[in-house]
């Protein structure tokens, strides 16, 4: 059974059809990528899966449960956690605090616990901090833990967002254009991190503009164009797919 099963997902904004009847199956443990040129509807697609946007029609099934009309935070609680194309860091908090927020789902305790601070809660707080340090080390931000998150350079902000999402121990990690705005070197280290995450058992669904990155690391790729899925397959199949080359790669080379 696939971890994520999207069936006939459609989104209309007024007369504009942003996503049209998209079907997608993301198997457990895979590193799956969705690519497409700008305006192909990738981010809309993503927003619907993560519960951020309601869909016009179609269904989304995650981990065996229908999540089509489920709130964003509940979807996250089920283990489907996303990052954003425009980084959504928590301003006014330090780097490590950002990751600690990520531990929200993996921990418990509300106002009463924070006031009374029972033993389990104190222990949990210590564990949260440890884990946050581990994750920062994992993405290579260990030395900036106490810095204001806002002050990080852009590339590191993206890594921080990945670390934050990981903190919630997702089953499926949605990465929305994680390499956007990164230089080659940063993209390289990001690719390694994504592969590592996947290797440790987290399913990754990646939306990406950078075809080079995707074809190198993804197990399977789906291509969107004008809101429709025009192709799906292994990187090699996609690279050879005539429609993809016409619709997407051609354009990409022109731009480059």
């Amino acid at each position: 059974m696939p971890l994520l099963n999207v069936c006939g997902l459609t989104k209309r904004f007024g007369g504009l059809v942003a996503n049209n009847e998209i079907d997608l199956e993301v198997p457990q443990g895979s590193l799956f990528a969705v690519i497409g040129p700008n305006g192909a509807g990738k981010t809309t697609f993503f927003s619907m899966i993560s519960g951020f946007l309601g869909s016009t029609s179609g269904s989304i099934e995650f981990d065996g449960r229908d999540v089509t009309r489920v709130r964003q935070d509940q979807i996250a609680a089920m283990g489907l956690v996303r990052t954003f194309q425009l980084v959504q860091l928590f301003k006014g908090m330090s780097v490590i605090e950002n990751v600690e927020v990520g531990c929200h789902l993996a921990t418990r305790g509300g106002v009463a616990a924070s006031l009374l601070r029972p033993a389990w809660f104190r222990k949990q707080e210590i564990e949260v901090r440890e884990r946050a340090h581990e994750l920062l080390d994992f993405v290579g931000l260990g030395s900036q833990a106490e810095q204001d998150a806002e002050l990080l350079p852009y590339g590191q902000q993206r890594l921080l967002e990945v670390a934050r999402a990981l903190a919630s121990k997702p089953k499926l990690l949605l990465l929305d254009e994680p390499a956007a705005g990164l230089n080659t070197q940063e993209t390289e280290s990001l690719a390694r991190i994504i592969q590592k995450i996947n290797a440790q058992g987290t399913t990754v669904l990646l939306i990406e503009h950078d075809v080079g990155l995707v074809t190198r690391i993804a197990h399977r790729i789906a291509v969107l164009d004008f809101g429709r899925k025009i192709a799906e397959g292994t990187p090699d199949e996609i690279k050879a797919h005539p429609e993809v080359i016409a619709a997407y790669l051609g354009v990409e080379e022109e731009n480059a």
Binding site: S50, F52, Q72, D73, Q74, A76, A77, V81, R82, T83, F84, Q88, L89, F90, K91, G92, M93, I96, E97, N98, E100, V101, H104, L105, G109, G110, V111, A113, S114, L115, R117, R122, Q124, E125, I126, E127, V128, R129, E130, R131, H133, E134, L135, D137, F138, G140, G142, S143, Q144, Q147, L151, P153, Q156, A165, A167, S168, K169, I197, Q200, G201
Partner: protein
Amino acid sequence: MTSLSITSPKPAARAARARLDWFQIGLLAVCGLLTTGALIYGGYLLTVFQLAMIYGIFCIGLNFFMGYTGQASFGQNAFACIGGYGSAILCVQYGWEPALALIASMVVAGVAALLIGYPTLRLRGHYLAMATFSLGLITYDISIQWTSLTQGYMGYAGIPPLGIAGFEIESERWKLVALAALLGFAFWISQRMRDSRFGRGLRAISGSENGAAALGIRVPRFKLIAFVIAALYASAAGSLFAHTVGFISPEVFGPQMAIITFTMLYVGGVGTMIGPIVGAIVASVLPEIFRSVGKFQDIAYAVVLLGMLIYAPKGLSSLGKLFRPRKKEEA
């Protein structure tokens, strides 16, 4: 705890605890010194600082909602009004113990905040600000009009001072000591909530609602809880005002209160830990400094306030950041 097998050097195993920079510690020390000075000097400075402590408690609550959670409320005076009149009515009409009346009023204010906040907190930005401001105005008008309950503009007199089990705090000095202790307690509580899973969630919402929701934080619920907390603080402040001064009337909890506390919060630094306390004390002491200039008092106050807002737009307690050597940006 580790589903990911990540190897890393063991960091110091301590739970997160917010730290103040030296500038902030200095500010806090100055505030403490000023309060101690007032305590020793006595006289009307006791009253000025009593009110500052009460406003400080109010602002700590407001900071929860406006600072940590990043939402706007101009209507917390409504809850102070509930607290003040709750205390006045329960003590004067029904002869309750002040401490008991204070807690009972807080419960009422909390429930009111829950009921009002549930529909209102869907709004954002200026609309939320206006909606809450209307709540304050509505409560103000009700406190004027509902004379059978509140006695309208005549106000409530003869409210007993704070005390426990028949022992009343009569001396102005001891009142200030008690209020300072309560402020400290209120601050301690707020710190405990801030440095925890719950508090981090609030601050995440302030940073990015979408980001917070994507990490599983139930944003509307967290906002509502923060609103209720702010209301509880405001109600306590209202009750304390009633017990400290012994008299309340609608003007006490009018829109002016919303503006004053808002000023305090921004002068001190919204979203910072000590901002509410620093702001409450500075904004209470400032007019006293200008008292000697007579009819120019308000002008001087307005000019200084504008100066602070222009040159320290993030509040006094954030000024320290300007002088901290900026860390290397690239690792």
